[in-house]
Symmetry: C2
DNA sequence: AAAGAAAAAATTGTATACAATTATACAAAT
DNA sequence: ATTTGTATAATTGTATACAATTTTTTCTTT
């Protein structure tokens, strides 16, 4: 099975989303179709498909006059997203504990070790990547398709707010937190794994908030028109 | 402000979605664009926008060859959806308890009374409607935008599985369950309201499952290709 | 000069034509 | 008879032209 062809709408979707997440497009900025189609060098037809997707995910907001504007995001929304994440990923951890084979546990142990190393040597990039791997693997074996789908949608929104945070150091106790979750999974203790995961997510939220407080405004973008 | 114009893509989206939810389109059935554009008497352009939306919500699944097929849904997925609902609506109830004004409580009390009447007289249609009103009102005052958005997405999926259930009677203790939630809100007892809501959702799931057991297969549609 | 109306420009919404891809039918070869 | 290749048809993907709507500009009237 060769790699199935990349549809223009899909690459457009990805590119525009990245521009929104990483601030190349500012919140409340209105984007026009022609402008984007020129920028990405594609026609309006696949572009509009991409815009439709982003509208569904509420990265773009359709105004009553038909114009699209980039969504703003508040600190409160980020907190809500992490709250939801803690619930969803909690369930995932619980189910993962029930489903995990010995092979799965081996893989997870390896990821955790890599995470520990990355932290030890200060490889931030890798550290974040392995952290994601850990969560993604649990999602995979949990079998909770809907939860995973919803998670993927809201995670990107939170990333928008705190991507810059992930770059600079001191993820206080993330390694230990992951280890604790894995402990629960090893012991097939779903309730334990769920609780550990919830705590972990909420602790991550705290880290994010702290970084935010240090830095800029409590809000990206304006709600006022 | 006059009612903003209905876009063809939006009505197409709604119509196709209804056909999927209420079984006019069968699970795993493949739908073609031309067929739909003739059926709805619109051109392919707005139709494809609608299909894109339904694909994002996973009512339609894009196959590797580009064809779209109607999603199937398993009993397990329905159970997962109710599990997620219980968490999300639990949070909503908790926040609603914190935010509810005395006016809000008055409105909720009225809705509950109508619900009680509808149940008493066996008006199933109205009973379901008032139940939805109650939940929607809590969602409104909770201020949890993301949770509400996610809820609206998954609810429709569950409806697909159990719409036929809602028609025939005996919602055992729904009235009392709603009353209990309202009790928590009146007392500004968020934890109580949250728990009551969670129990309520899970009890509804039980009702649905029981009906399903009585009736047909445990699964709508085939996963086998 | 200000307010309103009319005209022009810009932008989104829809339809259709064409290109690329995928599925089907049928014939030839083994 | 089964398979393989090729031609044909069917279907999706993309581009573009046109229609409808909204915004901006201009002009007129007071």
């Amino acid at each position: 099975m060769v790699p199935k062809r990349r549809l223009t709408k899909d690459v457009a979707y990805y590119q525009i989303k990245q521009k929104i997440i990483y601030g190349e497009f500012n919140p409340d900025e209105v984007v026009r179709e022609e402008q984007l189609s020129e920028m990405l060098e594609i026609s309006r037809t696949p572009l509009r498909q991409a815009l439709q997707m982003l509208e569904m995910e509420e990265f773009l907001i359709r105004q009553p006059n038909g114009r699209l504007k980039v969504a703003s995001i508040t600190k409160e929304e980020v907190e809500e997203i992490f709250q939801i994440r803690s619930m969803l990923e909690g369930s995932i951890a619980r189910n993962a504990a029930a489903n995990a084979s010995s092979d799965d546990i081996k893989v997870l142990t390896e990821i955790l070790e890599k995470l520990r190393q990355a932290y030890h040597f200060g490889y931030t990039q890798e550290f974040v990547a392995y952290g994601n791997d850990f969560h993604d693997y649990l999602a995979e074996i949990s079998g909770l398709k809907t939860s995973v789908k919803l998670l993927s949608m809201i995670k990107d929104h939170a990333n928008r707010y705190c991507h810059f945070v992930s770059m600079y150091g001191k993820w206080s106790n993330q390694v230990d937190e992951h280890a604790l979750i894995l402990e629960g999974i090893k012991n097939k203790d779903g309730a334990f794994a769920e609780l550990a995961m919830k705590k972990h997510i909420l602790s991550t939220l705290k880290d994010v908030i702290n970084r935010i407080e240090d830095k800029a405004s409590s809000k990206i973008g304006n709600t006022v028109d």
